[in-house]
């Protein structure tokens, strides 16, 4: 089960990054639509967040880095969900931009999806912490057991 959740989250992070990387300017526009940050911060986030998602996906699949990857996945999802919640609370009618500008996802649907992903990421963080088997020096591969 742990491996399934890890793989699904890593795959989702890669897909999310892959959909944003071809057009950072459009993603910056999506961020600005949330009206939470000034334009320069939206530009920085549009350039940085997709690469953080790539780093997280790689970490989730790398022995010894899974805890960090899972923690960061939880943090990213919490941040995205918080932004969506504030948009929803202010009655903003916008596309979430979660998987780039080409996809069309309403805030409501994105919130439902993110809640499921948050639960999955939270479960993974707790499971990895409880396990305690995956320390910094751990060398086992993802599918080694």
């Amino acid at each position: 089960m742990k491996w399934v959740v890890t793989s699904v989250l890593a795959a989702l992070m890669l897909v999310a990054a892959g959909s944003k990387l071809p057009d950072p300017a459009a993603f910056a526009g999506d961020i600005m639509n949330f009206r939470l940050v000034p334009w320069w911060a939206a530009n920085v986030l549009a350039l940085w967040v997709p690469w953080v998602e790539v780093a997280v996906a790689v970490a989730l699949l790398t022995p010894g880095w899974r805890k960090a990857g899972a923690g960061l996945t939880l943090g990213l999802l919490a941040g995205f969900t918080l932004a969506l919640l504030t948009a929803w609370g202010r009655g903003l009618d916008l596309e979430c931009g979660c998987f780039g500008s080409q996809t069309s996802t309403t805030v409501g649907w994105a919130l439902v999806r993110n809640t499921v992903l948050l639960v999955a990421a939270g479960w993974l963080v707790v499971r990895l912490a409880k396990d305690g088997r995956e320390g910094p020096g751990e060398t086992r591969g993802l599918f080694s057991r």
């Binding site: 990387l21 530009n43 549009a46 350039l47 940085w48 690469w51 805890k67 960061l72 943090g75």
Partner: protein, 157 residues
Amino acid sequence: MCLELSKQDGRGQRAVRSTAWRVACLLLVACGPAALTAWWHPSAPGWTVAGEAEDVVWFDPSEVPEEVMWLDAREPAAWAAGGLPGALPLSETGWEEDLVAVVSGWEPGRWMVVYCDGAGCEASVRVARRLQAEFGFEEVGVLRGGYAAWLEGRALK
């Protein structure tokens, strides 16, 4: 027992510290390719404030005359996600196709106001210059602060 618990505590703290370092490392590692993207990506967001150009007319969102023709200079993907009500797309990549509707919709004396994402983009200035240079339109302006400023203005209302 207390000794055992304190040993476990120490291990737990080390694990948390180690994970925190790795998280920081991942965030830092992402800065490298992000910087390269900013430098090389053809669709990277702009960084200079375009308000310095003196060869175009600038409009603050609150000063735009009524009945202007809004032109959206953002890329087609951004336009598809939403733009100003009644605006027409006129991006640099879709120039040929977009131009037909713009030219046929223009009436003498009606101002064209071009906008892009925000204060950091320059597409609106380039499009305004092109309309002036290639077609001789004189009543062409640029929205100061772009789409983001218009959205902020609408939110304040």
